[in-house]
Symmetry: C2
């Protein structure tokens, strides 16, 4: 059974089955011309929108609907995390191919709803349209933050140290594995467990919402960005917005062991693995700057954040953005200036 046999109302009802009851601040929810909500007192609002387009951001061939739903929301939660914001509500806008199976539709909603529930994010409304082409999942997310706790990209100063959460390259390695593997079932051995962990990181990225909140609350970070487009891009974003240079110590970057295996085989001594891992996206880790005098504030984030934090570089007055490799090589990083493709 495909969704072409259901009415829009029936599809909305299927979505609502996965959602908790609306909170008291949602005065008008799904079903009217628009949602009406009460703003949170003494808080600023943080708004973002992000879309996943089939065959551009994911392939249905190897991405289960449940993972598509999870990822579509995770990329949005990651944007809020990078601002130090608490998630509040989302609006869903789907363009659906009529051939989409009802089972797939339910899976997508289940994946999305499960992640939303974990962050107490409420679906306030949305729109369902037919697509004559790709599946498009567009999500608008709204969160709140106290005025003094906003994390932007532009607050870094020369001397601030650059940190990154988690490990880098795992999701890209997972995507590589999914694209090239013939059989979906994993085989035995340590390397395959590593591979499966990378696949999981690609399919089910964990937005660093808790870490973003901790960094904002005690003002530990002077600038912050999420790594949707890769670490190299994130470094350039902070450098440009803050008008500083950055020197990254290649040897310090926490390249994921799985990424070392997947990307390192062909090249010399892990060097390819670094280049590939920092230039590919989908990590959804946070990259942030910390004033040298306030490094102590990272302790709370370290204790409660459940994720490793690694110092990978430093901001400089010299506006160059460079990557120093272990062997002493220096490479200038540039932002993904590629054409719109």
């Amino acid at each position: 059974v495909t969704i072409s046999e259901l009415t829009e109302r029936e599809l909305v009802a299927r979505i609502q089955q996965h959602l908790p009851p609306p909170p008291p601040w949602m005065l008008v929810g799904i079903g009217d011309d628009a949602a009406v909500v009460e703003p949170e007192r003494n808080r600023l609002e943080v708004l973002s929108v992000d879309a996943l387009v089939e065959d551009v951001h994911f392939e249905r061939r190897f991405t289960p609907p449940h993972a598509i739903g999870h990822r579509a929301l995770a990329v949005n939660l990651s944007d809020l995390a990078a601002m130090g914001a608490t998630p509040r509500l989302a609006l869903l806008s789907f363009a659906l191919p009529p051939s989409f199976a009802c089972e797939e539709f339910d899976g997508l909603i289940a994946g999305l709803a499960a992640l939303a529930a974990r962050y107490r994010l409420h679906v306030a409304g949305g729109n369902l349209a037919r697509s004559p082409g790709p599946l498009v999942i567009d999500i608008t997310i709204v969160g709140t933050v106290k005025r003094r706790q906003v994390l932007t990209r532009s607050g870094a100063r020369p001397g601030d140290e650059i940190y990154v959460s988690g490990t880098i390259g795992a999701a890209a390695a997972g995507l590589q594995i999914l694209k090239t593997r013939v059989t979906p079932a994993p085989t035995e051995g340590a390397r395959d467990t590593e591979g499966e962990s990378c696949v999981r990181r690609y399919l089910y990225p964990e937005p660093r919402v808790r870490l973003g909140l901790l960094l904002g609350r005690n003002r530990a970070a002077s600038a912050c960005v999420d790594l949707s487009d890769g670490l190299a891009d994130g470094v350039v974003q902070i450098a440009h917005a803050s008008r500083v240079g950055v020197t990254i110590d290649g040897a310090a970057i926490p390249i994921d062991p799985g990424a070392r295996t997947v990307f390192g085989a062909g090249g010399p001594a892990g060097c390819d693995a670094i280049a590939e891992s920092i230039s590919r996206g989908d990590d959804y880790e946070l990259l942030f700057a910390v004033r040298p005098r306030t490094q102590g504030r990272l302790r709370a984030a370290r204790r409660h954040g459940d994720v490793q934090l690694t110092r990978v570089g430093v901001c400089t007055a010299n506006p160059e953005i460079v990557l120093q490799s272990g062997s002493g090589d220096v490479r200038t990083l540039t932002r993904g200036y590629g054409h719109f493709r």
Copy 2:
């Protein structure tokens, strides 16, 4: 030159050229991970999202980019109007085919920005993605409203009278003209002027923002909905949400003269014109209920609203939704229960 030759940054810069400077309440605008805004004091927030998908909601063959941009925002403004809300900000999410010409992109933005400026609506952020298929214009809109001035669909009671703004069927007639005409240039004569007016109503719908505000401010309307999916659907929406019946007087419906010409030719005495005009969408007029005792409150809306208001029916305790034609025929209206296509 197509957009595939530009970077995402360059496309964002092209958008910003059409936008006014950000207002003081927009603390972080385009360019960070998310927008940060200060909520308006003592106001509720009204949020909605709506998408226009190429070949589903419009055809590029006869819809100029400027009109696509206008319509994409107009359908969202219309949702706010139906809630009695003042527009505040929008987030834009586009999925763009790489073959889209830069000139077309600029035209789309110009059409959208011109309408936004008229309603002091500010673009707070967005997302640009590539589309391997149709052009998709997804817009999230946020407005504000005082608590006692919210218009919902559910407040109508038996005895309330049903009104509609403007005329019905003009946009559908305009679409019909665009679909069937061979040469784009209009020919001479009174009928063609009428036709051109319908085409304009389709390409450049005017959201009834001002009327919605007036109806909310003095609490003239007990329920309100916008007619994106046609008058028949709007009547059913109010009836279902308010748990009342509605009797519509077919002879009273302000069918647009252009719609009478386009849809009435083949059928008997304007009857087809009514059926076609109320079942097709794209009108973006407001349909609303008014308590009999408070009809006087419509005076302000009539004086300042710049649009005619016509009484077309009445709410009943009997839950049936009927259309009485001039000749005494009675037809039961049902909502657009069509499959998701």
